[in-house]
Symmetry: C2
Subunit: 328 residues, 2 copies
């Protein structure tokens, strides 16, 4: 049997569908007794209104879209937790999609979401110039960019990446070692800022070498072999600044398997402070982005935009340096 409609309920209650609709939307212009009658029937038939019809007729969809790169990076799962913590209070549903760092996928899922007329969208864009951002802007629907800074008034929430890099630079300025190696990922605004903050505020004399495009957990294995063979980190006292905890943890695990002493031989500093950073083989010194708060802030900003509240559209969260066992 096909699901009941508002008309079925109306007939059963001997009222018009308009009255049922009023009951549904808690309009106050219904006589208490009819309201009760209708409600009873709705319950007894366990009638569920058709979401599409309501939205077509102009109701908000009460769902917000979240587009992130991937779920396997703990960074993003914590973001989502933060978002849900806020949005679920107001009974919003979450529609999720993963861009897998691929601009075409990002584009596709954003278009998809736009056609679904969600009430708002949170996007962690694959790049600051992503076409998806333009699509959002043109669409006119409320949106928030996550993990990037915009100069043109577009709403965003991010950690202060320059500041985070600076914290690491200052920390290392006070230390002695034979070499510093920075291991960073694909070219992105966030990583570039971390790097800049680090370089501009490192005030020592140790030579610095940089490896780029090391992005995934899997990459960390390969880079370890290079670090040992080419950079002799098992002989020279080395500090590794890895601009992403996910990779840093992979490296720690790999180096431990080679029996390399962390932190005395190789000292490692990560970035993000994902939950497992304190749990891994050697608890990781890192820069905390306060990830859950990042997600919460994005959600709050989006809700503000949805309700047309006048608020600060550029929200930057200050990072904290967290000293653990992986560094001296």
């Amino acid at each position: 049997m096909s699901p009941l409609t508002i008309n079925d309920i109306a007939k059963l209650a001997n009222v018009s569908s308009a009255t049922v609709s009023r009951v549904l939307s808690n309009s106050d212009k219904v006589k208490p007794s009819t309201r009760q009658k209708v409600k009873d029937i709705i319950d007894s038939q366990s009638y569920i209104p058709n979401h599409f019809a309501r939205c077509l007729a102009g109701n908000p969809s009460m769902t917000i879209g979240v587009v992130i790169d991937e779920l396997s990076n703990l960074f993003f799962t914590e973001i989502v937790e933060g978002i849900d913590a806020i949005t679920c209070r107001d009974k919003y549903s979450l529609q999720m999609a993963f861009s897998q760092w691929i601009p075409e996928r990002e584009d596709f899922v954003i278009r998809n979401m736009l056609s679904s007329h969600l009430d708002g969208i949170i996007l962690a864009p694959t790049s600051v110039n992503a076409k998806a951002i333009d699509l959002l802007e043109q669409s006119g629907i409320p949106y928030v960019l996550l993990n990037c800074e915009m100069e043109d008034g577009k709403p965003f929430v991010t950690g202060d990446n320059y500041q985070g890099g600076k914290l690491v630079g200052e920390y290392l300025s006070k230390q002695d070692m034979e070499q510093i190696i920075v291991i960073t990922g694909f070219d992105s605004q966030a990583l570039a800022l971390r790097y800049k903050g680090f370089i501009e505020n490192y005030d020592g004399t140790t030579p610095i070498k940089t490896y780029r495009n090391i992005s995934t957990f899997e990459d960390s294995n390969n880079i370890c072999d290079i670090l040992i063979n080419d950079d002799e980190i098992n002989i020279k006292k080395t500090t590794l600044f890895v601009t992403n905890d996910n990779v840093a943890i992979g490296i720690i695990t790999r180096l431990k398997n080679f029996n390399i002493d962390i932190p005395n031989q190789v000292s490692i500093i990560g970035y993000d402070d994902i939950k497992i950073s304190k749990l891994c083989r050697v608890p990781l010194t890192t820069v905390s982005q306060q990830i859950t708060q990042l997600g919460e802030e994005a959600a709050k900003l989006l809700l503000d935009l949805i309700s047309n509240k006048d608020t600060e559209k550029a929200r930057i969260i200050t990072p904290k340096f967290i000293k653990r066992d992986s560094s001296l």
Copy 2:
């Protein structure tokens, strides 16, 4: 300006809305030249069809719902990855909701999803008797239950929990120690089966004690204090069977902070094989549920049900014992 409709496009192209609709749905009954003309206009106006209207008119929503307990348990994030890996191929979107182990929330989000007329739902129920399961069954929409076994023909995908417990029982039967302590979570079918499998197949003489309702990462800290104070695990050689990696990793971290030797003083066996189990302070011996496969299988089954394919509705995945460093 409000978004363009199919009629706007029709006018611009000098055709009827029906023709535009045909172009949209790739119907072959359109003259190539008109098709091209319409397509050009659609592109140039970057027109996006209204999802609600399409669905109201009978199109499938192309989105499937996923209801899990929480995202912070890595077990579920891997499940979702598995699901997305399958469903994204067919361009499905994912609507996600978190029950937080609360039946009322579970109920609410399921109702929500039912009103949204999703094409299918994957639910990891809070319990085998959850009312939400009845709602799904009554609704008539395709669904798959995750992480539980049903006897009444309802479609489900789960690991073989009895078998997993058995693997641990057999493994420990060959070992000597002063005490075995099982640490398990809230009463649930899956955990009960793991326990049963373990007990019925443990063939040794070591006394076994059990702690229940230890479910979250946070709980692991408290239980450690009890284990040390009451059970003297720092003195007696102990084996811990923790029926959930998340908790096991918390315990490892805590015990390491107390400088307890793992595995020589305390040997620990987990369950699930979440990704970080091999990365934590002491790589964890555990039972692999092949989690991603679990998610993939659930997605495949759901897609089969959606397309009315005749398939096996009871899918049980065989677990594997994984020996790592946390046990002898």
